[in-house]
Amino acid sequence: MQLTNRAKQVDRKPLTIAEKIYLPAVLKGMGITFSHIFKKKVTIQYPEQTRPFSPVFRGLHILNRDEEGRENCTACGLCAVACPAEAITMDAAERLPGEEHLYREEKYAAKYEINMLRCIFCGLCEEACPKDAIYLTETFAPANYSRKSFVYGKDNLVIPHPKENPEAFAKAKGLIDERKAKANQQTA
């Protein structure tokens, strides 16, 4: 009974003399491997060269500011509730009259901490945030020696000020290399 019409007939002839001594096949194989010595190598010399990430890559977190430099985050706590690993903690504070240029709304996060060892980089906090405040960039968490240094505070997470620090801000909007340097400085 034929199940499909794409059946291929298997060649079950006994091996010829040339096939039995394996030698022609071996020599042909050796020719192939020899030719591979002269082909282009696929190795990437990390860390001098790196592979680019896609723009939706979920890496380290960042707390956004708007164009005037005011922090977006209002410490509403939706990201902390959404986080499946319970990595985010925050303390809210009220904006005093002289601080309108620092924070957008009357409530802001005085203390905002993400434990990078708990974070699973799922991006649910980014999806939950109503103010576009938290965003996951395209960089890795750098290695470190102590557990405490993996709890990133606000100084590590907030993006640089666009007016005061334009190049740092522009750099942070793309691939963030200076975050690695900052984290290294933190622990050095």
Binding site: G29, M30, I32, T33, H36, K41, V42, T43, Q45
Partner: protein, 350 residues
């Protein structure tokens, strides 16, 4: 009072030469580990180790230091004496064979003529065979002393493989012996210098010898003794640190010595160019000897490359296929080679 009338200068010269050859063997084995990784990488479209030192040349040093600092584990249920004896035997037999290989012509230093061959015994190649047969003890003792089923399986397979392929190797050598008329390696090289390289006279014999050399060194496609995918480590799975280092090194030194023997027997040894009389160049004897040694080294390197090239090309033989090949394939072929050689010699003598 007459003390022993020993030629102290000769003893000193031989001792220095032995130390030199051992050092060279060890350094070559060290860089063969590096070379293996590089050759493997280049065949597989990647770059090998290139971080330790320029172009990764200090990688074997890093490997050696790592191996040295690892913890020495001797299983409590193993036989302690045999456990330590295994790798020592493997290394000993690997080194002993280098004593009869002619590394070069004569050198004249300090008014003495020093021949670059430690011991020009007149049973040269038979001595090599004897030592290689002892080499199987190193593996068997290591496998037994590990007190581990898988090591024992690996050791059994290795032992049966080695003794099967020794036969074909010896038979192919008999054909060579018929042509050269002498077992001494120095004599063979001299004959090749004056006449043709033996590979032209004995191509089938060379091919059989090459296949058997692969089997003797436990190299792919005959490496089921240490088939990493099947037996984890085979006979050396229980070993760690320097004892493991000894086993691995002994394998590489075996490869080096097999390449040297093949180059000496079939490719003219320290003869530089095949159909040419090099003394016509008119260099001094020392320079000629050095050039000869360099030529031998180059041939050895080519053979080592072929060992590695074949490793990364061919899949491993199954145990029964391996036994079939050794007993039912290579021994008849070697016998046929012998008969053919005898027939041709008789025909040419007429």
């Amino acid at each position: 009072m007459i003390l022993l009338t020993v030629d102290w200068a000769l003893v000193l010269e031989k001792t220095i030469f032995i130390a030199f050859i051992i050092t060279v063997s060890l350094v070559v084995a060290l860089y063969m580990t590096f070379g293996e990784r590089k050759v493997a990488a280049w065949i597989q479209d990647r770059v090998g180790p290139n971080r330790a030192g320029p172009f990764g040349l200090l990688q074997p040093l890093a490997d050696g230091v790592k191996m040295f600092f690892k913890e020495e584990i001797i299983p409590t249920s193993s036989n302690k004496i045999l456990f330590i004896l295994g790798p020592s035997l493997a290394m000993l037999t690997a080194m002993l064979t280098s004593a009869v290989i002619p590394w070069g012509d004569k050198v004249e230093l300090f008014g003495r003529t020093i021949s670059l061959q430690i011991a020009d015994v007149n049973i040269g190649i038979l001595y090599v065979f004897g030592i290689v047969s002892l080499g199987v003890y190193g593996i068997m003792i290591g496998a037994w002393a590990s007190n581990n089923k898988f090591s024992l399986m690996g050791g059994l397979r290795a032992a049966s493989q080695i003794i099967s392929y020794e036969l074909a190797m010896g038979l192919s050598l008999i054909a060579l012996l018929m042509i050269t008329g002498s077992l001494s390696l120095g004599e063979m090289v001299k004959q090749q210098q004056e006449g043709l390289w033996n590979v032209i006279v004995q191509p089938l014999g060379f091919f059989i010898f090459l296949v058997c050399a692969f089997a003797e060194c436990n190299r792919t496609p005959f490496d089921l003794a240490e088939a990493e995918n099947e037996l984890i480590g085979g006979y050396h799975s229980e070993y760690s640190s320097l004892k493991l280092g000894f086993y691995l090194f002994a394998e590489y030194i075996n490869m080096f010595i097999s390449s040297a023997i093949m180059a000496t027997l079939y490719f003219g040894g320290y003869d530089i160019l095949p159909f040419y009389d090099e003394s016509a160049w008119g260099f001094s004897a020392n320079i000629m000897a050095l050039l000869g040694a360099a030529a031998l080294f180059f041939k050895i390197l080519v053979f080592i490359f072929i060992f590695m090239w074949v490793r990364w090309t061919i899949p491993r033989f199954r145990y029964d296929q391996l036994m079939n090949l050794g007993w039912k394939g290579l021994i008849p072929l070697a016998l046929f080679n012998m008969l053919l050689t005898a027939a041709v010699i008789l025909f040419l003598k007429k």
